[in-house]
Amino acid sequence: MILKASLPALLFALGTGAAQANKVFVTNEKGNTVTVLDSESWEVTAEFEAGNRPRGITISPDGKLLYVAASDDDTVRVFDTESYEELYTLPSGPDPEQFALHPTGNPLYIANEDDNLVTVTDTESRTIKAEIPVGVEPEGMGINPEATFMVNTSETTNMAHFIDTSDYKIKHNILVDQRPRYAQFTADGKTLYVSSEIGGTVSVIDMTGPEPVTRTKIGFEVSGVLPEWLQPVGVKVTSDGKWVFVALGPANRVAVIDAQSDEVVDYILVGQRVWQMAFTPDEKYLVTTNGNSNDVTVIDVHKQKAIRSVQVGQQPWGVVVQPDMAQ
């Protein structure tokens, strides 16, 4: 069912809560839609068509533009975060999956899974600035806070490629475990986390030296869950760098890692096939997409507990939360 901003949402928007409610956007890979939730009521407020096989999703720094990788349309669709109208598309190269947006909002770095390329797209002129050959099945895209390096992970090559954002040259390659999925820097840029879905590990990469170096690999163990189901995918780190959350796919759990000790301290039970995650701007909540149960789980970050789940569209894949907007 496609809803345009529903009545409760409108009523809510008129209220003056102390904490700002943020819009949470979820791509539904099979349903070909984006679901919109409200981060205070956790109600679904809208769902709109988003092209074929929408996966990667991100938002402009000012919160006004929503970028959706419509993988089967070979394009990035750009939506207005108020009207949910599609404004225009961006050239993405074939089969865009994940992408990273420069902190300034331009350019967009896009992984093209079928073509062993990372495409750099200018979000203003809407043109391709560069195509960078990388390993087989490029997937994860991360960018460091200074935006000097972007990182691409290639799933069959099993590497993290460190690409200089000034000349688009690969400056370093690090082999990680099988099928690297996601690359996430800490807010201070000193550490990079790369998840390996089939290897079952998260590589912790030290970025403080002249070259990136793998410091350790973190594995997972849950009693009663077969080891082969512990498949790390999405990774998020609190901005103080203290806690790392790792979505474990078909294990239906999010691992909580103490970043000081690199130890897993807890596993939070969430929906089925947990995939990607996003914090609310205040980092009170972490939202996870659960592809097989068609819902999202809301985790209380401080308590490290799942507090509720909300049904969304078919096969939720990616999630992004709108930043706080000027009132």
Binding site: D114, E155, M159, P250
Partner: protein, 402 residues
Amino acid sequence: MFSLGPQAARYGAAMLSAMLLTALPAGAMEVGAAVLRIDYPSLAPISRYELVPDDLGFAGATLANEDNQTTGAFLGIDFTAEYAAVPPEEASDALARLMEAGHDKIAVLARAPELLALSEQAGEGALLLNVSAAEDALRSEQCRANVVHVAPSRAMRADAVAQFAIWKKWPRWFLIHGSNPEDRALAAAFEAAAAKFGGKIVETREFEDTGGSRRTDTGHVLVQRQIPVFTQGAEEHDVVIAADASDVFAPYLPFHLWTPRPVLGAAGLRPVTFHGAHEAWGATQFQRRFEALSGRYVREEDYQTWLALRIIGEAAIRTNEAGAAALRDYMLGSAFELAAFKGQKVTFRSWNGQLRQPILLYDGRITASVSPQDGFLHQRSTLDTLGLDAGESKCTAFGPPK
């Protein structure tokens, strides 16, 4: 015949362009692999969908080589692949030529007798990767230290089917096998699987291979009368298990049985390593790359040859070694793992050099299920519930299980 042919020449060109994409550092390490395919005289398959393409296996190898080459370009490793297809009587000469050209890692698509002869001829310094021979004896009393098995054994496939039937609570099996030796061997694998997982073979019948006119205009008319009569009056059963390695009768079973029952094995729900419609676990990307390269859907032999060359590639990338001995050690060790589009890493059994892998249960259009099934547990890996476990294999060439 020992030639690459136009198709293979095209792959050569594709390989070259992949190499040009990223300039290699000077003094790059070269890692070569060969694929030796023995072409046996054979009848056309029952279904036209299964006509054997000229580039069978080679197309998978070319894709693997491209995948390896892309990674190698970042590491200063230059991967190459060379192919040969010969009739059985020329197998020995073909191997000799490949080894003279410096190859010591060779993926082989051959039956057991030729594979064993090639293993003997190749000697200690070489490593053969068995891509097609299914005999369990090759993983047991006839195992060879210089042969690792990428192809699943008959027992692995039979166990995959058995687990599914037991999971479904279909324990009573009517086993129908062909009259050729490989059909009977397959039947024996199903008998062993029944004993292993608690199935009961309530009746066994042999369908005699008399040649037949199966693909003629009136073939189906005959079949429609033959099969019901042939299956009439069997003991009460939940499923029919078809053991037809020769592709003679099994495809006709599903809609012609006297008693309507699901068919598993050589028809109906079939145990396969891979198929062209498999999409889960990122397989769509594999399918697209393969189809762009070959212009056709992937076959099991292609996937298995792809695996063989990716295994060589992965071992070379992780060890920075090119020689067969060093790569074999790494493959058989605990550090080796490879993502193979089947939801979990594939690794080798240290006791007989068999690659552990999930088996897809395929109905001809979709992946209907994947074995091992839920609830079949093992102290080492659930994948070891399929095929010969450490205690069951009589292989000693690989040393004790690690």
